[in-house]
Symmetry: C2
Subunit: 463 residues, 2 copies
């Protein structure tokens, strides 16, 4: 439907340069090709016609007006650390990279907000607000690279969500350039506000398919005390999951509650010689950022022991805690090293079904003869079964994709969702319809049509 | 546009009775007239053709199918405690009261969720989850009457929002009967989930204009310790507002931070002889539900004193705290007694602008020669300037409406919103466009068109 002006990419670049500096429009095919992908495996990606790197809202408006005039699709990108292919280029598209719009415009300790451009890196914002005694919680594993715009596009999560929630809960208001180049302001900079439909939230997780976020008002919290962690070793994943349920049922509010299975532990040890206890079947990491974390950890240690933990090791210092978290943060990279390639599932189930999810995943790994490591934001029921495979082996690749899909089917069966925090992108688009049903798809398409009637924004993603 | 079958309400009632028990379809004009209004002043209300009180999802579907077939508008209602006229009937409409769908379907301490029908009263749910050691925070002043469905429709707030946020943050998933009678399930029952556009959040605050919520999955928290409060007396509203800024800037997280101005204090004393210090210009109430609330109160007391408080009185017991909160909860009723009628503004500004908001409101009261009492969720910057007037006096009524509007204009000027928690309804519909702008209105209308192409759901509300 969308005309792809393959015949004349030079004309497109020339028109874009009418509103952008020359160096902000890249058209060398060798360069533009390097913008084709995010970090997801098994996702098709096309060849961009041109890559633009605007620095102002007006420049983004010019890009969208040009795209609309020529009917050229636009694929917005942040740091391309996404895991679902949502930022993958389509053939002949304009890749709209927001990475140069990276200014923190305001930090207000009284109003507890930050106003930022989309290209601000998550960790840069986190450190900047820390200096004001404030805290921006969402912390995806890629936080040192990923951008706030990308976090908003994918509605990303992280390790601290079990206490502090996901990106969506921190987005108060947005400035968005629409497909036709007009500017929309949504939401607010106040603590509360209910004027009209919540369009702000509609953009969060929309993977750039409804408009281009060019400015965000983010909610901040006071910086909590530094967290202190413990590690508990279990002889079975089921026991570890039972401990998770007991901890949450007991009214505890950990700032982190993570699970690593034996495959993951071994992979981390192999890569980083961290000396994790790889004789155990599951390692649970819990942390508290309360005024008396040792007391909270003691209560949780007791619950872990009652649930069958073989050993519980509380960190005495923040340095020890950080080492444990470092192991967790390395998990995906370590699993990638096992066979060279991974497909990372992101199934979130009610935490009461976490044990069933882990058990089922182990059965799927056995059925397909594959290594599938699981690390999980256990307190949220958000698992990342990670299929390790050799992409050069066609049969193993096929089995990897089949097992990946079967894991999603299991998640839906258990009352869960196909994606807790990574988004749908290209990787899971066939599964979105299974989760939300035909009525849901129809209405979501209606929303898309309202915002992007020509279908130019990130076509082929979501549905 | 919508055919109003005034000619044959009997036919409508008969068709409705084909799918509902006889007693669930009320058509006696004396009875149906009593369903015309919510609690807002100055809002037009029409005469319903019929009132239906379904008990099942299927019955709601029958109502909507009938309405669609006959092109009859439908106005959904909860307890009608709303303050914006959002539940007011339109002429010839079906009033769809959800009050009989009042079952709590599930409470899960492990998953920290409740699944409820829309007619469950807020306080009933709160008490039910308390029995499981859980907490459902949103607590509008009408919590003993208002329903969860109404809370969702109006995105309502309450006293605890400063720490725990508003209704929207507790709605994980919804079952919604669409205008044409089809059933849509949105969202999830998991802690996290980002599959597709966030339609759940779109329904929160949509005032029944997009669909009929028939089931909600709500997030719960562990029950916190009981809160302990203090009262601080100030010689000026500006000093009280400065204290609010210092408290929030200082990283404190009160579970309540409320302000009552002199007019409000006097009104409460007049009504309930509570012995509040009505020689002061502003009373600040702060509370903490932490493990050591006395320590937090002491720190806040110090900040209040530094900001110029004439006296700071910490409650020693929960009973004393409750008495203070009781005074705050009585404020609107007490202000109503001043002149017989009130119009309650709901302007929320960045808390750094709270003093300007109160100062400006006092000037508006003087300009119009009116009594305007202000109570405020001060920690959120959410003010309720309450215009007291005699509805029998046409000139005073005119001035009341003008001052009410001028207060909203002031709020927008200060970077705020026309509604922090009461919604738009009929009362503020002309102001919504001023807040969200023409592009926002166009997109919101597009969303409405997607969900309700015939315009049957609560027509005339929002925009």
């Amino acid at each position: 439907m969308n005309g792809v002006p393959e015949s004349n990419p030079g004309h497109l670049a020339a028109l874009l340069r009418e509103g952008l500096p020359a160096e902000a429009v890249l058209s060398d095919p060798d360069v533009t090709a390097s913008y084709a992908n995010d970090m997801a495996s098994f996702c098709e990606a096309g060849t961009p016609a041109v890559v633009v790197l605007p620095r102002t809202v007006e420049e983004v408006q010019h890009v969208m007006r040009t795209a609309t005039a020529l009917r050229v699709p636009v694929v917005p990108q942040g740091a391309r650390t996404g895991l679902s292919g949502a930022a993958n280029a389509s053939d002949g598209c304009i890749v709209l990279s927001l990475t140069k719009m990276d200014r923190i415009l305001e930090i207000s300790p009284v109003d507890r907000i930050a106003v930022v451009e989309p290209g601000v890196v998550n960790a840069v914002l986190s450190r900047a607000v820390n200096e004001h005694g404030l805290y921006y919680p969402p912390d995806p594993s890629s936080w040192e690279q990923c951008t706030i715009g990308g976090n908003i596009g994918t509605a990303s999560g992280g390790l601290c969500c079990v206490k502090y929630g996901v990106t969506a809960e921190y987005v108060l208001g947005l400035d968005v350039v629409l497909a036709d180049g007009r500017l929309l302001s949504t939401g607010r900079r106040t603590a509360k506000g209910v004027a009209g439909y919540d369009l702000t939230r509609l953009f969060v997780g929309s993977e750039g398919s409804l408009g281009i976020v060019v400015r965000a008002v983010l909610a901040l919290r006071p910086e909590p005390p530094r967290q202190l962690a413990l590690a508990a070793e279990f002889g079975s994943a089921a026991d570890a999951c039972a401990a998770v349920c007991k901890i949450m049922e007991g009214g505890h509010v950990p700032s982190l509650l993570e699970l690593m299975d034996r495959t993951t532990i071994t992979a981390v040890n192999d890569m980083a010689q961290m000396g994790l206890p790889d004789t155990t079947e599951a390692l649970l990491l819990a942390a508290f950022d309360t005024l008396d974390p040792a007391a909270d950890l003691a209560a949780v240690a007791e619950l872990c022991t009652a649930a069958g933990a073989a050993a519980v090791v509380p960190a005495d210092t923040h340095a020890e805690s950080e080492l444990l978290l470092q192991a967790r943060r390395l998990s995906l990279t370590a699993l990638e090293a096992v066979k060279g390639t991974t497909m990372i599932d992101d199934v979130c189930v009610p935490r009461s079904r976490l044990a069933d999810m882990l058990d089922g995943t182990a059965r799927i790994a056995e059925k397909y003869g594959l290594t599938i490591g699981v690390c999980a934001h256990a307190g949220d029921g958000n698992t990342h079964p990670t299929v390790c495979f050799d992409a050069q082996d066609p049969d193993e690749s096929r089995r990897a994709r089949e097992s990946f899909d079967e894991i999603m089917a299991l998640g839906l069966e258990l009352g869960g969702t196909i994606t807790g925090e990574h988004g749908v992108g290209v990787l899971k688009k066939e599964w979105l319809a299974r989760e939300i049903g035909p009525v849901g798809v129809e209405l979501q398409r209606g929303v898309k049509q309202t915002f992007d009637p020509l279908g130019l924004l990130n076509p082929g993603k979501l549905f």
